[in-house]
């Protein structure tokens, strides 16, 4: 199932199948501060095919978000290298859309104006910008809120607006850092369903960081478990649940329990407790 859709995607995008969308080779990252050096990543190797949906789980403080920052080019590895579509990343990577955990909407712009930011940066004509913004607002279910300011929206709506702003410039790779973390369970399911729907249409390469094992299994083709600091990949678990998936039914699939057990064991929560 998985290999089937991947081959479709690589054919569509006309990319050679052997060039990974994302590649980390022997990547280590040490954060230096005045009193101490913190080793966050040590020798991480990772390769991701185009159109693949990867989830990363791990104890807090493991380098999950650091991996995303390295991919975004906002941070540079201390050792090893990071490639994106075969190109080595040495500055800010504009091939990606980065949906962070924190709210990064511009509070002085309305929802419409926020979603239009990437298009304004690219100097798109106003008429086309407006058409695409309207279309995007409909796709993420924010109709009627285009003229609202972020302060007037609920947390879930702000996430939708951020997602729309990320998708509108059609980056081939999406980085998502616990995007649905602080939301309530029901809203989380709705947004997961919407994300899967949007993803199934566009088939972008996704790296999705979460602390929620169920969310990881529900969304991803593959789940990585990171160990505690300095992190390495402890488990690389392909998810066998076929697509299209229904977010509220994934957990009743016969494979779910097996995946969950293995991921939970690898996560080693008791070790995490000792650390935090």
């Amino acid at each position: 199932m998985r290999s089937a859709h991947l081959s479709v995607v690589s054919a569509q995008q006309g990319k050679a199948a052997n060039v990974p969308a994302v590649e980390l080779r022997d990547v280590s990252k040490t954060f230096k501060s005045r009193n101490a050096n913190v080793d966050v990543l040590s020798g991480v190797n990772l390769s991701l095919a185009s159109g693949e949906f990867l989830a990363i789980v791990g104890p807090s403080g493991s380098g999950k978000s650091t991996v995303l920052n390295l991919l975004a080019g906002l941070d540079q590895p201390s050792a090893g290298h990071v490639r994106c579509q075969g190109r080595r990343i040495d500055g800010v990577n504009t091939e990606i859309g980065y949906l962070t955990q924190h709210d990064s909407l511009l509070p002085w712009r309305t929802v419409e104006q926020n979603i239009a930011v990437p298009l304004a940066i690219r100097g798109l004509a106003r008429s086309e910008t407006n058409a695409r913004v309207r279309d995007m607002i409909a796709q993420v279910g924010l109709e009627g809120f285009g003229r609202h300011y972020p302060a007037q929206l609920s947390g879930g709506m702000r996430k939708r607006a951020m997602l729309a702003r990320t998708l509108i410039y059609d980056p081939p790779i999406l980085l998502m850092d616990e995007p649905f973390g602080p939301l309530d369970a029901q809203l989380k399911l709705t947004l997961q369903a919407d994300l899967l729907k949007l993803w199934s249409v566009r088939r972008k390469t996704v790296v999705f960081v979460t602390h929620d094992i169920v969310e990881a299994i529900t969304l991803a083709d593959r789940v990585l478990v990171f160990s505690a600091r300095p992190s390495r990949i402890k488990l690389d678990e392909p998810i066998m649940i076929p697509r299209p998936r229904e977010v509220h039914e994934v957990r009743f699939h016969p494979c779910f329990e097996e995946h969950y057990r293995r991921l939970w064991a690898a996560l080693d929560v008791t070790a995490t407790r000792r650390l935090t």
Binding site: A72, G73, L74, V92, N93, T94, I96, G97, Y98, T100, H102, D103, S104, L106, P107, W108, R109, T110, V117, P118, A120, I121, R122, Y149, A151, Q152, Y169
Partner: protein, 263 residues
């Protein structure tokens, strides 16, 4: 920020209390003026403290003769010209200096040192450089406004949320686009604080320079009245200045509310 959206129905309460505040303000002014009027000539010598009625008469006669309008306009022009120049320079330099950490750390001690100099002390220098026309007043007003706007805006630029900047960088924004879309709007509330603080100091600069060497403006009017031992004239000139600064500050406040309607 959020309470505004949540507390929609309770808007009536602040309105009622603001009416009350206005009532108290009126009462305060009324009581103060009556007490001043009553004390003048009874327990205080009107030569030193004048009286509200005498000041009022002076204001009326100056208004009728066109004197007040003329001098106010001179001071107003000097201040506004200085304000615009100083504020523009302050904002531009703050954006420039704030964009580079090295530059910021390099210039910081010098700017702080100059900031510590009382601006009024520069008036004689400016008069020497620029003569006794409008120029030295504009320069003194500008430099007074400049530092307040510069420091305030710089603070805003330094406190911009890095996450917004990073978000725009990953979208491919140039440095200029980030300045325009994130840093400037984020620093705008600080900039406004600087403008509101700066405006009265602009007047102080202009009036101080007028007092030293001038034949027009509110500073000249005060100095002239004092020279003639006309206490009512001094008070009248200061009163006129007070009214103008209050009105301008209120206008700035309106502008601020309109610009920050997203809050």
């Amino acid at each position: 920020m959020t309470t505004e959206a949540v507390s929609e129905p309770s808007h009536a309460a602040p309105l009622a209390s603001s009416n009350l505040v206005w009532l108290y303000r009126t009462l305060f002014v009324g009581v103060f003026l009556i007490a001043w009027q009553a004390a003048s000539g009874t327990i205080l010598d009107p030569f030193w403290v004048s009286s509200p009625s005498a000041i009022f008469r002076t204001v009326i006669s100056w208004t009728l003769s066109g004197q007040l309008e003329y001098h106010l306009l001179v001071t107003f022009k000097e201040t506004i010209a200085g304000f615009v120049l100083g504020a523009a320079a302050g904002v531009l330099l703050a954006l420039l200096v704030g964009a580079s950490d090295v530059l910021h750390r390099t210039v910081d001690p010098f700017v702080t040192a100059i900031y510590g100099v009382p601006k009024v002390a520069l008036a004689p220098l400016f008069i020497m450089w620029f003569g006794i026309g409008l120029a030295p007043k504009i320069a003194l007003a500008a430099i007074s406004v400049f530092f307040l706007v510069f420091f305030s805006t710089l603070r805003g630029v330094r406190e911009v949320d890095r996450k917004m900047v990073d978000a725009l960088r990953t979208m491919g924004a140039s440095r200029l686009a980030i300045q325009r879309m994130v840093i400037f709007p984020a620093a705008l509330p600080w900039l406004f604080t600087g403008l509101k603080l700066g405006l009265p100091y602009g007047f102080v600069g202009a009036v101080a320079a007028e007092m030293m060497a001038s034949n027009a403006g509110i500073g000249y009017l005060t100095q002239n009245a004092a020279g003639q031992l006309d206490t009512a004239g001094v008070f009248a000139a200061l009163f006129a200045l007070m009214v103008v600064t209050s009105l301008l500050n209120a206008a700035l406040g309106r502008l601020e509310n309109w610009i920050f309607r997203w809050r």
